[in-house]
């Protein structure tokens, strides 16, 4: 089993570190799946009560050099688990003003299996400075791989392109202090509503005339176009996710399955990120 990849483009390195920072905010433990074409970051839902995340990176775009050998020739993949927080802190230096010359990621075994990040930084002398971070990981045995498969696209009742994440983020930040849960609703007319209900006040923010993605099977829905489909989710988790507007997605799709899940789909040129927020049954509609 081996893995070795090298990134040279500054923009790619920065995107990568932003993605890692976002993931670090979302969960304590993250699984990385390496295949010959893609790298996946997986946060497991653990029984459906916690939010789950699935991110895919096109290896070809990010890495200039990429070489991997999986567990065996039939299963040419590597699954490993690490603590994203540690990784994010180490990559913090990549965000500072100094430009990075290159980032090399390798699977190594120092006193324990590690993912080694070698960062080459510019320096005053002829040769570059080299920073090496060894992040300890645990390799996931093949028998557990089925736990980390791509989640099926959930059946949804409403699907909508969200307004710019920055706007949403500001709204949610304000609503966070009112209540622990927020209700997200959407209909087929292009309206998206975030609302919070407390004992003293109900606050709703309406986004109208939004575009809707055209999934193939959606056009035959006979229901009333104005019907709202809602799900109530944990507002903190939603807020954490929305801080990922750093990744600068080109589009974000929100699929709501009333009362069950909210599925947020960030589309970007070379990264797709799916975030599943389970709905909370608050007893209210």
């Amino acid at each position: 089993m081996k893995f070795r990849g090298k990134m040279i483009e500054n923009q790619c390195i920065r995107q990568f570190s932003q993605l890692v920072t976002l993931i670090a905010r979302l969960a304590k433990v993250c699984v990385i799946r390496i295949t010959s074409s893609k790298i996946y970051f997986i946060i497991s839902e653990m029984g459906g009560s916690n939010p789950g995340m699935w991110a895919e990176l096109e290896q070809g775009h990010f890495f200039n050099e990429f070489d991997m050998e999986g567990v065996s020739s039939e299963n040419n993949e590597i699954f490993l688990e690490l603590v994203p927080d540690k990784l994010a802190k180490s990559l913090n230096s990549l965000k500072s003003s100094q430009s990075t010359k290159s980032l090399k990621i390798k699977l190594t075994k120092k006193h324990s299996p590690c993912l080694t990040f070698e960062i080459e930084l510019p320096s005053l002398s002829s040769r570059s400075r080299l920073v090496v971070h060894d992040i300890p990981i645990t390799l996931i045995p093949r028998r557990l791989w089925h736990l980390y498969q791509e989640p099926a696209m959930p059946s949804y009742e409403a699907s909508i392109y969200l307004p710019p994440l920055k706007q949403l983020r500001h709204v949610v930040e304000r609503l966070k202090s009112l209540s622990a849960h927020a209700t997200l609703s959407a209909n087929h007319k292009g309206t998206f509503i975030i609302s919070v209900a407390t004992d003293t006040v109900d606050v709703s923010t309406y986004f109208k005339n939004l575009a809707m993605p055209a999934w193939g099977n959606n056009t035959e829905r006979p229901e009333n176009v104005e019907d709202l489909h809602s799900a109530t989710v944990d507002i903190k988790k939603l807020a954490q996710f929305l801080q990922g507007d750093q990744v600068n997605p080109s589009r974000v799709i929100c699929n709501i399955h009333g009362g069950k899940t909210v599925h947020l789909f960030l589309l970007h040129d070379n990264i797709t990120l799916q975030y599943f927020l389970p709905a909370i049954n608050t007893g209210q509609i």
Partner: protein
Amino acid sequence: MNYLLNQQQLACLNAFKSINNIDRIVEKCRLIIDPEEDRLAVNMMCRHGIHKTYNLSFIECETLQVVFDKNSCKYSITSQSRVLYDAFINFQASQEEVTLSATPLKMHIRNYVDDDPDPAKAIHTELTLEADEFDSYSIAHSCEVTFCLKEVRSLLSFSEPSNLPICLHYSNPGSPIIFSVENSSSFEATFVLATLSSGVDVSQQSSIKAPQINGKMSNNTVVNGKTNCIPSSSSSSPNRFNSSKGNTFKRISDSIDINQSYSNPDLNNSRLPSSQENILLQMRNQRTNNLDQSVSSLQETKRMKTSLGRTFSNGGTSQREPGESSSALHEEEKEDDYIPGTPPAKRKRFFFKRCFEPTFDANNISGFSKILAEDSDDDQQ
């Protein structure tokens, strides 16, 4: 003449709090030391005729003279602040200690991983710098030293904006590493940091001869006699380091302060505690004032407790604590020259257990009813 500002209030910081605004607001600043009133006055003359004065009380004291000699250090490196600043940014903000390992050609900086939490689970970071990145680099053989990064970061945040070069001097592990910055016309700053000595036993600490505390303290019966200076360090593993001089310095002042407020109330504008409860409350506040629990303040507290026992309980020994601490006191006086390492924080809880219990009621302690000084403002009249 050496002066020490009252550490408890961190008043000095208050005066210079908004450093960014100071440029725009303050026109002139005058510092006046008033030895009679034991006061440092900071007069800021600001724009629009505003005049701000901060009066900071201080305590005259003996300072420890740190014994070091930059020029006798084996290895020295001079570097631009920016180089070190950029280097240390690669380490996590919470990283306490780093190991500097220099060979004649390169310098490696590694984060120091404690054995306590599992070393296999910790991130290891290593940075390599070439020798020609430095202004001067005289390393004859390979050597490595481990020191506290936090202190260096504060030095760098000071020197980096002024773009001054920093000189490092060090010898073997165990000897201090000296960072110095100077702007020849204005100032010179020297940071002497302890380094980890390899394979040192926790119980064998090098001793520091305890200085006499003079000045206002002499008429205070409690502090008359030797005060032990306990090596302490801000790092998480205090026992392994030789004294970090700045911190030891601080400890003496904190310990003096307790007694100061006890015996000379006028100085700090605090009333003489008229009951034992007040003194214990003060001690408790002292504890919660974010002090590292170093032995010196602990021992001072113990001594205070002893004297309290004597004063307030008419020689009665209804409390457990005075008995214990007075024997500890005798023990300490015998072992002047030997300063033990910082005891675990559990000890303070053990000795003062009763005070920390939620059911503690000062009324239950004998001698509580004996009032030595009446309330100055008696509300009941």
